[in-house]
Amino acid sequence: DAMVIQNPRYQVTQFGKPVTLSCSQTLNHNVMYWYQQKSSQAPKLLFHYYDKDFNNEADTPDNFQSRRPNTSFCFLDIRSPGLGDAAMYLCATSGIGENEQFFGPGTRLTVL
């Protein structure tokens, strides 16, 4: 089945220790998104890729970076995690011109 996969599902890191979250998709979608979601709140868009074009949201901290080496994979790098960065991180994809987004299962990040 075509799907969006995120690894790891749970990540524990220490304050200030860099961490990378990964996302892969078999949907062959051109657009990939990274969201941050804190408890019971709506997902907050961090950035997205339209093919290889990177688009950062204006209020996304510089601490958050992303890479998309190919169509299938996308990475979220948090350079120096703070306690406030503990959250669920969601990856989503969509086809060009399509409004529906398909989400992965998420990575729960804990910062100690």
Partner: protein, 113 residues
């Protein structure tokens, strides 16, 4: 700034009851999606509505898009414990060159046996 307000924020009901969740905005959307998110998982797309006044049914769930495409509702008939989760509406704004969704504030539903 486009906002989608959902109501109620939290709903706790008994199995077998009916309920309606509302998603309201002052902005017009080209389409609107409803997602359900279970604890520890990502949102799962339930339905997309596109046409003003459109009604879609998914088993016991009925979705309606407002005539002016500014609001939507989700009605669940005879709720079951498996319906428990966070329900999110998300709208695609008009006239944006990019497919960015505006998410609603969310409704947390708890259905007890």
């Amino acid at each position: 700034t486009q906002l989608l307000e959902q109501s109620p924020q939290f709903l706790s009901i008994q199995e077998g009851e009916n309920l309606t969740v509302y998603c309201n905005s002052s902005s017009v959307f080209s389409s609107l999606q409803w997602y359900r998110q279970e604890p520890g998982e990502g949102p799962v797309l339930l339905v997309t509505v596109v046409t003003g006044g459109e009604v879609k049914k998914l088993k016991r769930l009925t979705f309606q898009f407002g005539d002016a495409r500014k609001d939507s509702s989700l009605h669940i008939t005879a709720a079951q414990p498996g319906d428990t989760g966070l329900y999110l509406c998300a709208g695609a704004p008009l006239n944006t060159g990019f497919q960015k969704l505006v998410f609603g504030t969310g409704t947390r539903l708890l259905v007890s046996p």
